[in-house]
């Protein structure tokens, strides 16, 4: 079992190596200017040289992302529950949610700063703005896909509203919730980055922006590489959580089946 798992990582590693080679060769052969796409080797050097600073910024951005994700998970689920539970809420909350996605955040930056200050919370707010929507929509669709026959049966047995929610709707919505969480996890990093651009003294987004202002391509990409790693890490964490929480649900296809 463990052997097989280790073996399954081989193609991924090979693929990443392939990408790395393509990057290095591509930038070298086509003489791409370093401030547009730097050589991978230069990026790695910059990554190493700046490791202390980058580590600090990494921690800051990670904190912003995680906080925002946690808040979105809680409020996204609550919102989805409102949307599921009340027609009125569906009719009013949904348009509002959608609208929140279409507002260019930079137009709101003074408001953000006024409300949340320059510290952590304005970035967290942007992360929430980014991640709230996929979580709420996917969870709402999860609720909607709950097997109606089970609900009917529970109703017929006189199940309370509470029992319907805790024993039927919530477990049914879990797969949708986790799809949303995976999306949100990947996006959260982008949210934090944008939040840092709205003003701030720390974080990988700020680091990348300053590097870009100084035309230091390899530092920009060092930051970007770390941001990507963080995003993939958060996504994997969400996937692991999903696998754990949905253990034994979707195995019909795998266990003992030939295909």
């Amino acid at each position: 079992m463990r052997r097989r798992r280790a073996a399954s990582a081989v193609p991924v590693v090979l693929f990443v190596l392939l990408l790395a080679v393509v990057w290095q060769l591509g930038t070298t052969l086509f003489r791409v200017p370093h401030y547009i796409v730097p050589k991978l080797s230069d990026v790695l050097v910059s990554l190493w040289e700046d490791r202390g600073v980058l580590g600090r910024h990494f921690a800051v951005t990670l904190e912003e992302s995680l906080l925002g994700l946690a808040i979105s998970a809680v409020f996204g689920t609550l919102t989805a529950a409102c949307i599921e539970g009340s027609k009125l809420a569906r009719r009013t909350l949904y348009p509002l949610l959608v609208a929140s996605q279409t507002v260019p955040i930079v137009a709101l930056s003074p408001i953000m700063v006024m409300w949340f200050g320059y510290e952590l919370w304005s970035k967290v707010a942007v992360v929430v703005l980014f991640t709230f929507f996929p979580l709420a929509v996917n969870t709402a669709d999860g609720f909607r896909s709950a097997d109606a026959e089970i609900g009917e049966w529970m109703r017929s047995m006189g199940a309370s509203r509470r029992a319907l929610w805790t024993k039927w709707k919530l477990p049914s919505a879990l797969p949708g919730f986790f799809t949303g969480l995976k999306l949100a996890a990947a996006i959260s990093v982008g949210g934090a980055t944008l939040g840092e651009w709205l003003g701030g003294e720390a974080g990988l987004g700020m680091y990348a922006k300053r590097a870009s202002n100084l035309l230091r391509g390899e530092a920009v990409f060092a930051g970007v590489l770390l941001l990507s790693a963080m995003g993939i890490g958060l996504f994997l964490a969400a996937s692991l959580l999903e696998r754990f929480a949905l253990a034994g649900r979707r195995e019909v296809r795998r266990e003992g089946a030939v295909w």
Binding site: E149, E152, W153, R155, S156, M157, A163, K167, V252
Partner: protein
Amino acid sequence: MRSEAEAVASIPERRLALSVQGLTYGFPGAAPLFDGLSFDAAEGEFVTLLAASGLGKTTLFRLLAGLLKPQAGTIRIGTHADRKPENPEHSPASPGKGRVAYMPQRDCLMPWRSVLDNAALGLELAGVSRQEARKRVRELLPAFGLADAETKRPYKLSGGMRQRVSFLRSMLAGGDVLLLDEPFSALDAMTRMEMQLWLLSVWERERKTILFVTHDIDEALLLSDRVLVASSSPVSALHEIPVRLRRPRRYEDVLDGTFADAKRKALALLGRREGGGSR
């Protein structure tokens, strides 16, 4: 145990657990299924419904369980005096909470719960603590041939096992009136017999009112006090076949002349239907 006479005759003073008056229902855009149907079941009575596929048995149960709203007529559930609806005009009663226990035709087990937890759900809904519910279910699993399957998820169960879990779940949920929609259709003869005996023993001990749907005429006659047969669609009346057999019943009763008579009658009624329901 009631004497034969008691169990069979429709004595005016008997107390009703269920009465349906002038029930009319049809799905939107389809032909009506019930048209002014009336019937009742006395407290502690075991009544079986026989009808062709697609005639509306499941729909009737969903109406009784309060999942569908009658278009006309009243449904009363819970012990009450015979034929004396205080207010015959009043709108269809919503069947009170927890007063029916419904076992649907398609086992709708929760895919994310184990056999044990699925079966315990009925008790949980009746207010029993999870702990206690599991304990009581665990005691019953061997009798249901599910001892080894305790921790399995539904997708790992055979058809008959799923049905038994569903049956157990609904039986444990309690309620004055049990609605069982083809509870044994996926069981082999021996397992079915065991389940029938178990059901009868519970029924005799707890004196529940049972409304039972089956396609098996032998089963219907073997279990019930009365068999109600619907023979044409829309159903506006049920033909009643009283089963005058002693209780407790034995499988040898199948050879009884009364039994053969009743069976012939039921078959005739079912065969006489004129293109019922979907046919």
